[in-house]
Amino acid sequence: MSSLAALLAQAPADPSGAVGAGEAIAFWILGPVALAGGLAMVIARNAVHSALWLVLTMLCLGAMYIAQRAPFLGFVQIIVYTGAVMMLFLFVLMLVGRDSSDSVVEVLRRQRFVAMLVGLGFAALLVSALARSLTQVTPAGIAPSNVGPGGNPGSIGRALYTDYVYAFELTAVLLIVATVGAMVLGYSERNRDRPTQREMVEARIRGQQGRPSPLPGPGVFATGNSVATPALLPDGSVAPESVSEIIESITRDKLRDEVRSGQEVEPDFGARALHRPEPPTGSDQEVSPDREAGR
């Protein structure tokens, strides 16, 4: 613990490169967690859960880098991989939908067999490389490169912009080409010939899109405010398009018939509804429910 605290408090780097107690403790905590995260990522059914387990593994790796005195690499791992890359993954997964889980149907034939072969080959490669590094390579340690001006990030920057500048620039070019290519592929068709808002307005005014104004709402100029009451135009005739087809198809059909048969409603500013019953024949106190509803 004291070693861990010393690490947090910027103890001078141990030049021998031996594994300290704090580093060992950190490794034995982070290692199993990272491994468990990796396994759970493969096993998890839900895609978002898989992504989260992968995030856990990446965080553990970042913490291990930091514990091994490579803080720049560790934090960049956290910022770039967990922060940006996995966030993009999550974004796409959310777009796909919440309940979409992996289907177990094999789409490509013999896919599992090939995947198993490749996996085994990869495992063999990893194990042999690891075994070689454990037995034949003497660890140089990161301590010598941390002591220059600027510390750890300073020496990384120096290496990146002097010895490896071509690799660095080529990687940058590759990434930019990939980004531009993705944008060209994704946007080339959608953005072509898309009218601007101004063009749409002018086209509407020119009469290229039917009528220039929006459809009249129901009940405009009429005294009733039911959605089934058609709007009245300023000259008193009814506006058939003011009644929605969905809401009151009967009224609309009737209107259409009326308009077609030529019996236009007379300009009548007292009109409150299309369907006007005969004036009541009884006493004036009796108000028919129709009229009550139409008001």
Partner: protein, 444 residues
């Protein structure tokens, strides 16, 4: 100066951690109260003024009430992620504050130290990393709630975070170039030797200010929780302490980014100019006062923005991030690096002037030689376009009003305007007559 931190005993580190935690909790309570009071004042109303003097305990009372509310988990929620999200949101917010230098060299119980938990070579990156982890809380909360509004809020937050983290990171680059270090302590010390970076690197400061508001989901960039569109956004389904954690995380994040703005651009714990000439103000606990007052000023700006600006539309917000902030930052970084290279190369002023003049001349020549973009031809005569509608002119200039007769009669009395069109009184049959009769019957 780092050596003072390096030999901190364990009890002192624990004390500092405890202090930062308490500081952030109390600042959150005070910030909520401060925000409500200031916004209230901006809107000509008193704000909370019942609990405690000036209502200062209002947020404490609210917090207690929140803790005793029922904790609800929706049936469709993804159980573990739903529980995990508030914690993921709150914990990194506190972690980020560990690298903020709150004060210069002080003596605590006989131990010479700095008011800062730790100082890393990569201190600025710690803050960026913590904020990028913290957004996971928001995104996961939106996803796991199992209802559409939070999902929309979470997705907005993911896109927002990716966009504005880039602008934030780019705005820091110029500061790092000038300070020569990623360590927060070195950045503060560098601002003691030269100007504050807010003046020296003003474009960086402006980009940082805009993107820090975007990064903390605050008005006018509070799209993930836009209450007029998304109910509560990502925290719609949360209640009780889980909701309180989100609330806490938001305010701690605000305090953290304000402290970072202070550290990176406003001189950290260095005193402002006339006071910095006095030796006493540069040392000891005074430095904590400068840090605190600058942070409060930035916090006030947060409140001010909220009281002033309406929420942006989502596409406007994205356009601002990608098409304004990021390009400005990139161009500015190139300029700053160019200036640094020129200074290192020891070129003389005439050389700079000659090369700059040639470049400028080439640019002007290029601008003159490039053909103008052909302007779209104006279409004339679309006034009526074959329809009977009386159309307003396309350029929307109001035609002059024709001169009318005076509304005043000869006797100087104003006459009521006669309604000539379609008066219903003349109709004998029809519903209006009936309604008039009804009305008469009702009143008599």
């Amino acid at each position: 100066m780092r050596e003072m931190l390096a030999d901190d005993p364990f009890w002192l580190i624990a004390l500092k951690v405890q202090f930062v935690f308490t500081f952030l909790m109390i600042t959150t309570l005070l910030m909520i109260w401060f925000e409500r009071r200031v916004v209230g004042r901006m809107q000509h109303r008193p704000g909370p003024n019942r609990v405690g003097p000036f209502g200062i305990l209002q947020s404490l009372a609210d917090g207690l009430k929140l803790a005793f509310k029922e904790d609800i988990r929706p049936v469709l929620a993804d159980k573990w992620v739903y529980i995990l999200a508030p914690m993921v949101s709150a914990i990194p917010a506190f972690v980020a504050f560990s690298v903020v230098p709150m004060g210069g060299p002080v003596t605590i119980f006989g131990e010479q130290t700095l008011l800062q938990i730790t100082d890393l070579d990569v201190g600025v990156l710690v803050v960026l990393a913590a904020s990028s982890i913290g957004i996971y809380g928001v995104v996961l909360a939106g996803w796991s709630s199992g209802s559409p509004y939070p999902l929309l809020g979470g997705m907005r937050s993911a896109a927002q975070m990716i966009s504005y983290e880039i602008a934030l990171g780019l705005s820091i680059v110029a500061v790092i170039l000038y300070a020569g270090s990623l360590s927060t302590l070195d950045i503060v010390l560098a601002q003691g030797e030269q100007w504050w970076f807010a003046f020296l690197l003003f474009p960086s400061f402006a980009v940082f200010c805009v993107s820090m508001v975007g990064e903390t989901n605050r008005a006018p960039f509070d799209l993930p929780e836009a209450e007029s569109e998304l109910v509560g956004g990502f925290h719609t389904e949360y209640s009780s302490l889980k909701f309180a954690l989100f609330f806490l995380a938001e305010y701690v994040n605000i305090v953290t980014v304000s402290a970072m703005a202070t550290t990176l651009f406003l001189g950290g714990w260095q005193p402002p100019w006339p006071l910095s000439q006095v030796e006493m103000f540069n040392t000891g606990w005074w430095t904590f006062l400068w840090f605190l007052s600058k942070t409060v000023v930035v916090l006030f700006v947060f409140v001010w923005l909220r009281g002033t600006l309406p929420r942006m539309r989502y596409d406007q917000f994205m356009r601002l991030g990608w098409k304004v902030l990021v390009p400005i930052s990139l161009v500015w970084i190139v300029l700053v690096s160019g200036a640094r290279v020129l200074r290192n190369a020891e070129v003389t002023t005439p050389q700079i002037l000659v090369v700059g003049g040639v470049l400028l001349g080439a640019l002007v020549l290029l601008a003159v030689l490039l053909p103008d973009r052909s302007a779209p031809e104006e279409v004339e005569g679309v006034a009526t376009a074959g329809s009977d509608y009386p159309l307003p002119p396309l350029d929307l200039t109001v035609p002059p009003v024709p001169r009318r007769r005076s509304a005043l009669g000869g006797d100087g009395q104003r006459r009521p305007v006669e309604v000539t069109a379609g008066s219903p009184d003349t109709a004998d049959t029809g519903p209006d007559t009936a309604s008039n009769k009804e009305r008469d019957n009702g009143t008599s």
